[in-house]
């Protein structure tokens, strides 16, 4: 059975020994202890497991680890290197755009990806860009507000 032995995560080469068929989500959480990436449904419906692969928001629950070998993967743990929060993270705190926080890492990385594609999205673009993400606590209007704030502060960086 094919095995994957290395991933490029948060700018670091990480040694792994994983069946190529396993999900990126499971390898991140169970092998690399990067539990900031959340499981929500395992079927690509909630986007809690979103990470960035080569800058693109990617649902790690549906992504086989073989498909991302050698690619640059960014998880929530890598978004604030040396403790300096990304503008999107700051904006989520400012807008109080979370309650339980389970959807938050995926939501933030989805927003970072959105702002990289569209630096100054309209509200309609935010809604359509983020509609794959579920926040069961219902903080959607606040998340839209957080993305507006981050866009103003140059969150596309």
């Amino acid at each position: 059975m094919a095995r994957i032995t290395e991933l490029n995560v948060n700018g670091t080469r990480r040694k792994i020994d994983a069946d190529a068929e396993r999900s990126l989500l499971s390898v991140l959480r169970d092998d690399l202890d990067l539990t900031g990436t959340k499981y929500g449904c395992g079927e690509g419906q909630c986007a809690a497991c979103t990470v960035l692969v080569e800058g693109q928001p990617t649902k790690s629950c549906l992504t086989k680890v073989a498909a991302v070998a050698g690619k640059r993967i960014l998880t929530i743990e890598g978004l604030a290197p040396e403790g300096k929060l990304h503008p999107v993270q700051e904006a989520f705190i400012e807008a109080d755009a979370l309650q339980c926080g389970w959807c938050t890492p995926g939501m933030i990385l989805g927003a970072v990806g959105l702002l990289r594609r569209t630096a100054h999205p309209s509200d309609a673009e935010i809604v359509s860009g983020m509609n794959g993400h579920i926040c069961r606590c219902g903080t959607y209007p606040r998340i839209v507000q957080a993305i507006r704030i981050a866009a103003r502060k140059g969150g596309a960086a």
Binding site: S26, K38, C41, C100, P105, R136, G138, Y140, P141
Partner: protein
Amino acid sequence: MNRREFFGLVGGGILVLLVEDELLAQESGGGGRRGFGAMPQDVSAWLHIGEDGVVTVYTGKVEVGQNARTSLTQAAAEELRVPPASVRLVMGDTALTPVDMGTVGSMTTPRMWPQIRRAAAEAREMLIDLALQKWAVDRASIRIADGRVSSGSHSAGFGDLTQGQKLTRTIPANVPLAPATEWSVAGKSLAKVDARAMVTGTHQYAYDRMSPGMLYAKVLYPPSFGAKLSSLDDSAAKAIPGVQVIRVTAASGREGAGHDVVGVLSVDPAAAEKGLAALKATWEPVAGQTNSRDVFTYFKQNANGSAPSAGLTAYTVAYIAHTPLEPRAAVAEWSADGKLTVWTGSQRPFGIRGELANEFKLPEEQVRVIVPDTGSGYGGKHTGDAALEAALLAKAVGKPVKRNWTREEELTWAYFRPGGLIEVGGRLNPDGALASWEFHNYNSGPSALQTPYAVPEKREQYHQVHSPLRQGSYRGLAATANIFVRESHMDELAHSIKMDPLEFRLKNTQDERLRNVIEAAADRFGWKNRRKIAGRGFGIAAGTEKGSYMACCVEVAVANGQVKVVRVLEAFECGAVVNPEHLRNQVEGAVAMGLGGALFEHIDFADGKIETNRLFRYRLPRFADMPLIESVLLDRKDLPSAGAGETPIMGVAPAVGNAIFDATGIRIRSLPMVPKGLPATGGGVTTSAVR
């Protein structure tokens, strides 16, 4: 734990114990006793100030996204005059915190919040006593601010005053507190205290917990509710390298899933998953279970209680799922001396401790349940399903076991918000005053069963039924169903005499607080100036539950058989507001969640199988479903603070339904209202089936 053990754990300093019973507080010696007696049994909170000056509050409440960690921090900071950042909260750990019935019923704010303030206020007085001993100054000259005690040229940190001492004081829970008009930290929008850990992904939820040497567990569940395992061939599963199959019998039966727990375990989660798929089981299903189409007739036919009057109008409410985004999860570890520790996401750490102690016939002190801040609950995480499975398997295998539920398990085997049939009828006097009111709830529950409107003659009854599905608490309990029906029917009555729905409610309201929220909502929404145009409709609904009051005004747009909720404005009053921004977040979030149950969420089931067992089959509210949501807070500083996690969800469905009627003339009498778009008529199959 006694006081000596507690100080051993936390070091010296000041310890304030708060007891529920005033007499007990006096008996155990009120003021400033130095000693190491046993902890009183009914302590509801304790607060410790360490020699380093750190204030630590211990409470059995848990944080599930409702921001209790923040509001309780404010409570301690308010009374101790310290920056909130220097207050630490230990929550939901049965070994460290006082016994607590659970984070349920919107009780944290009305009960725990003032108690922590009382404990903190007492600690403040103890600090002043210490300063008096040290400095020999006038008591009135002593000030406490920013975590320091001072008088004239004297100044000391909290830890400098307590140095080397172990002081305890036990106080009753009914000491008077300063009114809200004098608050400085409370009543303000303190930011979520643990937000940074959540936006950086460092907060460790129960689902994320790892224990050294642990095995991942999968558990075999029946293909249908109540099916019994008749044979099991686990040879293929066991043939997978590193996979163990463990079969244990639980003393406590799992509702619908029986006593047989078959676990598939491995250090490799993928191997455990493959092992589960490789099990060959045969099952004996339970025949003749009702389905979601017939369940309302079933309720009626199987209900207890006396028969209702003839000619009532029937409404139905579907079962729905909490769908907390963090599914149930637990890690269980047994120590060599037979003690059990479980990390799990729950609203009832002590309830789960009881379940586990009962299962393993252990004294409760031998079981420790630790609840990390949890990926929400909404009333859905009261039971210890995952904890029990993890603990049973960990015991059998002699290693720590991690048992994380999948979304499919969560949507199938967790308990649901009860479905219900409700029959209602009302008569009016010619002037529009209610003359009589009759209301019967079958199965969904008695919360907010009683009308808050003034009516001379009424009959209101809850009829219990044995539910065909596992059911339990859900944010707001049955108040959502009961208020949906009551407020829809009030709208029907208003229209029957061509009275404005707002005017009709005000005419029948004597409760001042209810009147205030109705008027505030209508005023801010612009109800009286609303302009009726084709395809648009406006609805209003109101109610009270758990000491708080809400009124919703809604605008909908209807086109091509589709309903779009355009605007929801909710006025909410829960006494003195503790944290305005977090209260708004709760109100708005409840509106968003309430839209799901109002418009499209429903559990389909047949033959003991849940058909809506995946997220792509169970629709949740998303960004694109959101209307403009506005919250109007009525801050009653003259009233005690009530909880706010539940009541704000209750007015959404009836206000939307009333707006749909206004737009279309169709009265929808079932929740959800538009799972497949606007129905041709409002009655629905369920109502006609009942009659």
